[in-house]
Symmetry: C2
Subunit: 270 residues, 2 copies
Amino acid sequence: MNFRNKLEKIIRKNNSLVCVGLDTDLEKIPRFLLKKLDPIFSFNQAIIKSTYDLVCAYKPNIAFYEARGEKGLRSLKKTIAYLRKNYAEIPIILDAKRADIGNTSGQYAKAIFDYWQADATTVYPFLGHDSVRPFLEYKNKYIFFLIRTSNPDAKMFQDVKVKNQPYYLYLAKKVKRWKEKNTGVFCGATYPKELRQIRQIFPDRPILTAGIGAQGGQAKLAVKAGVNKNGLNLICNSSRSIIYASSGKDFAKKARLATDNLRKEINQYR
Amino acid sequence: MNFRNKLEKIIRKNNSLVCVGLDTDLEKIPRFLLKKLDPIFSFNQAIIKSTYDLVCAYKPNIAFYEARGEKGLRSLKKTIAYLRKNYAEIPIILDAKRADIGNTSGQYAKAIFDYWQADATTVYPFLGHDSVRPFLEYKNKYIFFLIRTSNPDAKMFQDVKVKNQPYYLYLAKKVKRWKEKNTGVFCGATYPKELRQIRQIFPDRPILTAGIGAQGGQAKLAVKAGVNKNGLNLICNSSRSIIYASSGKDFAKKARLATDNLRKEINQYR
């Protein structure tokens, strides 16, 4: 099954647009887990077990695993294998934000889709079409092009005017013309106006968004701006405000509560 | 010693602006190496042994190692350890082209500088200053901001006009104002005009360039455009045309020859 079908199916089944960001940082997980053989994996496993019926996707950001080198990457491998084995219907978006010239992009695509076995990933379109083609050749996989990021300084280079419009809109319109259809876009939930413009350009495709929660994005504005006309295809990632909802023994329970609260809040505005 | 001093020292010692790109692909290395325990490491080791006195840096692109998963990353770890142990005076630029919001960038910086122990890396400035700050905090390390890439479609999004100038120049001028000084820039050698403009903005800082050789960049134009007024601080990366100069038993010897030819060609125009 391709990514898009998988996504739409789970959105309906779990009645959820929430994606849990598995940005697991050894310094932030409950201290009692540190005595486990693989604290990062144990943490992820507990979070997944506690939230799988409330989400439409999981999104590990690979940076958090790379930071711990070989060990970290092993925890990620185990996390992905665990998801595949037990919750195969939930798509895995491996957030890696890659971009390089074609020859090198091909290697990144291999890493993300063949080695990591992710269903989808994030890519900068900044180097042009020849640079992203190797990703797009994985027809059953999905690529979210980063169009407008969620951080405060995003304005600096993404909002400058190009042909009477902000650069991110110029990007979005060009990307839309590329013939491959296994692509969606990313826009930060902290910028609902921008998200609305991007939804207008891509009326139906999946949009990945982030920043509701720790980064201060408001659910109401972002959801109204980002869902398609059927109230679907907006993937709302939340990491820190879910996975670190508690630093005690009850962290998984509190993560479930935070996920469900966010799910319900989002569903109000779909 | 910080990166910049290390670089200037080795440029003078080896009288070279050549950086060898260790973009090692299992499918392209000589077949007889496949019977080795770690063919990628054996290949890299032979290339390094054969070229160390002719280069100013080595630049592994991490994508080629990531593509092979855990195994590939172990080959990279061994390659970096081998360089550190035997050729500590040669800087290692780990080409990773990372970019994410600040919180995540911090994890990437940890990966690249703490785990991988690289001297320098490549980063997209596209998300603005808050996104790159964690990299810049490693004061002895060096960050090359990707300003203008070397691929044919780079034009698509990097040359659009912003305030009466191409986007890449707008990026370069803004980046120049950032107070941190442990930064240089990247511009493809395939675009000598653009390289010249970027050198004018950064009259003295190290510039990383690539594409002389396999990508068709002409040494003469690129070198004249890119060196500083003392004929220094241009790092000319070449990968495929050096490391795959021969696919036979003589690959290391031929790599040396290709490196030396490029070195001499570049030195003519410094």
